[in-house]
C-alpha cells in the first residue's frame, strides 16, 4: 500500500482573541486572555457571565446568522492564498443559526424564510457557496467535539483518495441556548474558566470559528504549515453530559488516534488539552493522558483560559493553534491556571515555551461522551501514512424502521399494498416496545433512536460498536421545551434536562448508552441528505470489522417544524446494523456519491458518471428509489430525468417520498424498505404502478435529488 501525507496549506481562525493566525500567536505569546462579560445579548436579569465573545467586525450580510459569518471569516483566511475551491467541506457545528432563531422567536416571527439559517448543516452549505465548492459537504454535530471530528473525517477522505483538497473545521456563535444551558448545569465558572487549576469551577462559554485547508500529496507543497497525521473517535457510553470519571472513553479516542496516525506516544511532544476547566473534564482527561503516556507525559496546556470554550469550534481552534506551534516553534501557556491541581497529575505549562516540537496531540471531548483526538506533526519528519484502498461497502445484518404506519412489518405491508406511510409516527409504538429502554426525560427523537438501536443491534449490546446517525433537525421536543421555559421566565430560568437533551447528538449518545457502543459516535446533519452523510461518515471512519449502527431519524414538532422545514408532513426513521466485508447471500450497502450541487448542473453529470462506473462493476439495476424533497420537486424531477438518461436507465423508478412522506431523513426509512424488498426478491406491482419487478441478483440504486445529490447502491453479496 503506498504512502501519503496530508498537509495543512491554509488556516483561518476567529475567536475572542482576534482574527487570523498571527493575531492569535501574538496574543498567546503574550499570555493574553480575552474572557470578559457577555455583551451580545441580555444575561436575563443576572450579572452577565464571563464569555469568550468575538468583538471583530464580521464579514457578510447582517441577515446571515452569526455562526455562518464567523465561519465565513475563518474560511476566507484559510483560502486567501488559494484560487481553486476545496473539493470537500467538512464542518463541525453544534447550534447553527440558533442565535437568529432565538431572536426570531422572541420577536414572534413566523415566516419560514426567516429561519433558513437555523439548521447546523446550513453553515457548511453557506461556506460551500462562499468558496465555490461543488464537492462533498458534510456537517458533524457531536457537540463540543464537532470541529475536531470534522477535521479527522476530512483527513480520512483525503487519505482514501476520494478528494485531493478539503476545507474542514468548526464554528459556533454564542447563543442563549448554550449560555443559559451551561449555566443551568452549573458548569460555568463565574470568575472565568481556570483549566487544570485546583480552584477551577467550570468552563467559559465562547464562540468562534477555525478551519484548515488540507491537501493530500506525496511531497511537501510550498507553504505547508504542518501535517495532519490521523485521529480517533470514541464514545464514553456512560452519561449524557458527564465524562467517564476514569477517562475511559477519552483514552480509547487518543489511543486510536496514535495508532491511526502511525506514531508512537514518544513522538508526541505536546498535548493541546481539551482542558475546559470543569472539575470532571479536567480530571477525566488527565487520567486518560496518564494512561496513554505513563510516566512520560509531554508538555501540555489548554488555550481555553485565553479564548474560552468555543464548543463546536474548540477542537478546530486547538488544531489551528497546534499547526502554528509546529510551524513557529512555541508552546502556549495555560492562561488562568494559577495553581495547578496536584491531584490531576498533569501539570500544564505555566509560561510560554519557545521551542520546536515534532508532533502534537489535540484533544476534544463533548456531550454524549463523544470524544475525538487528532495527531499533527511538522511536515515530513515522520514516515508517510498508508493510503486507504477504495471502500468496499458494508454488509447489512439487520435493519428496521418506524413510520406513521407502525414498525418495520407494518410499514412494509403498507408500502407493498401501494399505500403511503405518510404522517406522524405514534410515540406509543416507540415507548411501548421496551418500557425499560424509555428515557423518561427525552422526547420522541431520542426515544426513537433508542428504539431503532434496540431493534437492530444484535442482543441490544455491542461494546466495540460504532454509531453514525443522520438527523435534519435533532431533538426538537427538547429544543422547544428549553426555549419555551427560558422565554416564559423572562430569560431567568432554563432546564438542564432539556439543554442536555437538545444537542443534536443526544439521540445517538442515548443509543450508545443503551447499547454500550464505545466506538466512534458521530451525528451528521445536512437537511435531506443527513442520513447519506451518516453513511458516508461511517464509510470514512470505519476500517475494522466492528459492528456499526447507521441511522437516520427526525421528529415532527407541531410548532418548530413548520418554521424550519415547512414541507415536512411526516416523521420516523430507519436503522441498519452493518459491518465491513461482504458475505454471500447477505445484502450490501455502499455509498457511492454525495455532493453539494447548488445550482450546478455539473453535479448531476458527475453523479451519473460515478453511477455509470459503479453500474459496470455491480451489474444490473433492478430499481431506482428516488427521493425528491417537496421543496425542490420541479428541479429535482429534472435532475432525476437527467441522471437516468445519462446512465441509460429505463426501468422501474420508485418515487419514495410518496410512501414515506416528507421529512429530512426519509431516505433512511426508504433504504430499510428497499433492503427488505431486495431480500424478498421483487418489487410488488402496487409500488411501481406497473408490472412486478424481479430483483434477484440485481441492484437497487437509492438516489437523492435537490440542492445536494447523493447515490447509494444496495445489492445481495
Amino acid at each position: 500500500m503506498s504512502g501519503v501525507r496530508i498537509y495543512v496549506l491554509g488556516m483561518g481562525i476567529v475567536s475572542a482573541l482576534g482574527s487570523g493566525v498571527d493575531d492569535h500567536v501574538q496574543a498567546l505569546l503574550h499570555e493574553q486572555t480575552a474572557i470578559g462579560p457577555l455583551g451580545l445579548f441580555s444575561g436575563g436579569g443576572k450579572a452577565p457571565l464571563p464569555v469568550g465573545e468575538v468583538t471583530e467586525n464580521l464579514p457578510g450580510d447582517k441577515d446571515v446568522p452569526r455562526t455562518h459569518r464567523l465561519a465565513q471569516a475563518a474560511a476566507a483566511q484559510a483560502m486567501a492564498d488559494h484560487l481553486s475551491p476545496p473539493e470537500a467541506i467538512v464542518l463541525g457545528v453544534s447550534t447553527g443559526g440558533i442565535l437568529q432563531t432565538e431572536e426570531n422567536l422572541l420577536a414572534g416571527r413566523s415566516e419560514p424564510e426567516q429561519y433558513a439559517g437555523h439548521a447546523v448543516g446550513s453553515v457548511s452549505e453557506f461556506i460551500a457557496r462562499q468558496t465555490g465548492c461543488r464537492g462533498t459537504v458534510l456537517t458533524v454535530a457531536t457537540a463540543c467535539s464537532s470541529g475536531l471530528t470534522a477535521i479527522w473525517l476530512a483527513a480520512q477522505m483525503l487519505r482514501s483518495g476520494q478528494v485531493q483538497t478539503a476545507l474542514a473545521g468548526g464554528a459556533d456563535s454564542l447563543c442563549r441556548l448554550t449560555y443559559f444551558g451551561f449555566d443551568a448545569l452549573q458548569a460555568v465558572d463565574p470568575a472565568g474558566c481556570r483549566p487544570m487549576d485546583v480552584n477551577r469551577k467550570g468552563m467559559t462559554v465562547a464562540e468562534g470559528a477555525a478551519l484548515l485547508l488540507m491537501v493530500a500529496d506525496r511531497k511537501k507543497p510550498q507553504g505547508a504549515f504542518a501535517e495532519v497525521r490521523g485521529g480517533g473517535l470514541s464514545c464514553d457510553a456512560y452519561h449524557p453530559a458527564a465524562p467517564h470519571p476514569e477517562g475511559a472513553g477519552a483514552f480509547r479516542a487518543v489511543q486510536s488516534a496514535v495508532k491511526n496516525a502511525g506514531v508512537r506516544t514518544g513522538d508526541i511532544e505536546y498535548v493541546m488539552l481539551h482542558g475546559t476547566g470543569t472539575v470532571d473534564n479536567d480530571q477525566a482527561e488527565s487520567r486518560a493522558m496518564k494512561r496513554l503516556f505513563g510516566g512520560d507525559m509531554p508538555a501540555a496546556s489548554s488555550i481555553k483560559g485565553s479564548v474560552g470554550h468555543a464548543l463546536a469550534a474548540a477542537g478546530a481552534m486547538g488544531s489551528v493553534i497546534a499547526a502554528s506551534c509546529l510551524e513557529r516553534g512555541y508552546l502556549p501557556a495555560s492562561i488562568r491556571c494559577r495553581q495547578p491541581d496536584p491531584e490531576l497529575g498533569v501539570t500544564p505549562l505555566q509560561q510560554v515555551e519557545n521551542r520546536p516540537v515534532k508532533a502534537i496531540l489535540v484533544n476534544s471531548f463533548g456531550f454524549g461522551g463523544n470524544n475525538a483526538a487528532l495527531v499533527m506533526s511538522v511536515p515530513d519528519v515522520l514516515e508517510t501514512i498508508p493510503q486507504y484502498g477504495p471502500p468496499s461497502g458494508f454488509c447489512v445484518h439487520q435493519s428496521c424502521c418506524v413510520t406513521a404506519a407502525g414498525d418495520t412489518a407494518a410499514s412494509l405491508g403498507t408500502v407493498s399494498r401501494g399505500m403511503s406511510c405518510r404522517g406522524i409516527a405514534a410515540t406509543d409504538l416507540i415507548f411501548a416496545i421496551d418500557p425499560k429502554r424509555r428515557d423518561r426525560r427525552a422526547g420522541k427523537m431520542t426515544n426513537l433512536a433508542g428504539y431503532l438501536a434496540a431493534k437492530t443491534v444484535p442482543g441490544g449490546k455491542c461494546e466495540q460498536g460504532a454509531i453514525f446517525m443522520g438527523t435534519g433537525w435533532g431533538a426538537l421536543t427538547e429544543t422547544g421545551r428549553f426555549l419555551d421555559k427560558l422565554f416564559d421566565s423572562g430569560q431567568r430560568f432554563s432546564s438542564p434536562i432539556d439543554f442536555v437533551g437538545s444537542v443534536h447528538n443526544a439521540p445517538a449518545g442515548k443509543a450508545a448508552l443503551a447499547s454500550a457502543c464505545g466506538g466512534p459516535n458521530v451525528t451528521t446533519s445536512g437537511g435531506d441528505i443527513s442520513f447519506e452523510q451518516a453513511l458516508m461518515a461511517a464509510d470514512l471512519a470505519i476500517r475494522g470489522d466492528e459492528g456499526v449502527l447507521v441511522m437516520g431519524a427526525d421528529e415532527h414538532h407541531a410548532r418548530l417544524t413548520p418554521l424550519f422545514d415547512p414541507a415536512a408532513d411526516s416523521d420516523g426513521g430507519g436503522a441498519l446494523y452493518v459491518s465491513r466485508g461482504q458475505r454471500s447471500g447477505q445484502p450490501v450497502i455502499q455509498p457511492l456519491f454525495l455532493r453539494y450541487a447548488g445550482n450546478d448542473a455539473g453535479a448531476v453529470a458527475a453523479l451519473s458518471n460515478c453511477m455509470g462506473q459503479a453500474v459496470r462493476s455491480f451489474g444490473d439495476i433492478g430499481a431506482v428509489f428516488a427521493g425528491i424533497p417537496k421543496a425542490y420537486r420541479r428541479d429535482g424531477e429534472q435532475q432525476l430525468a437527467d441522471m437516468l438518461k445519462r446512465i441509460g436507465y429505463t426501468g422501474a423508478v420508485v418515487d419514495y417520498r410518496k410512501f414515506t412522506g416528507e421529512y429530512a431523513s426519509a431516505s433512511a426509512t426508504a433504504t430499510v424498505v428497499a433492503l427488505h424488498l431486495l431480500q424478498a426478491g421483487c418489487l410488488p406491482p402496487e409500488l411501481t404502478g406497473n408490472a412486478r419487478v424481479d430483483l434477484t441478483g440485481r441492484t437497487i440504486l437509492m438516489l437523492t435529488c435537490g440542492p445536494a445529490v447523493a447515490a447509494t447502491s444496495i445489492f445481495i453479496g
Binding site: 443551568a184 453530559a241 426525560r441 434536562i497 442536555v500
Partner: protein
C-alpha cells in the same frame, strides 16, 4: 412542613417526568439520589432550578446540593428555613 413535603413530591414527579411513579410512592425519608427513583446529577440540577424558580432559593454548589437533596424531608427543611421573607 408536611404540606410542603407533599407539595414537593408532586413537583418532583412533574419536573423530572417520573412517569411510573406517583407522588405518594415517594417516602419523605428515602434517598432521592442513587435510590429507587433513579435520579441522577442532571435531575438534581433540574430540581435546583425548580427550587430557585418556585421558592426563590439558590443552591449553587454541588456540596450544598448533595446535602439539601438527600431526601424530600431535607429539601423541605432547607426550603422552610431559607425562604426569603416577603
Amino acid at each position: 412542613m408536611e404540606s410542603l413535603i407533599e407539595e414537593l413530591k408532586q413537583k418532583i414527579v412533574a419536573v423530572l417526568m417520573l412517569n411510573n411513579i406517583r407522588p405518594e410512592d415517594i417516602r419523605a425519608d428515602e434517598p432521592l439520589f442513587g435510590g429507587n427513583l433513579e435520579i441522577d446529577s442532571i435531575d438534581v440540577l433540574e430540581l435546583v432550578m425548580m427550587v430557585e424558580q418556585d421558592y426563590g432559593i439558590l443552591i449553587d454548589n454541588r456540596k450544598l446540593g448533595e446535602k439539601v437533596f438527600r431526601t424530600v424531608r431535607t429539601l423541605a427543611e432547607y426550603i422552610d428555613t431559607h425562604t426569603p421573607e416577603v
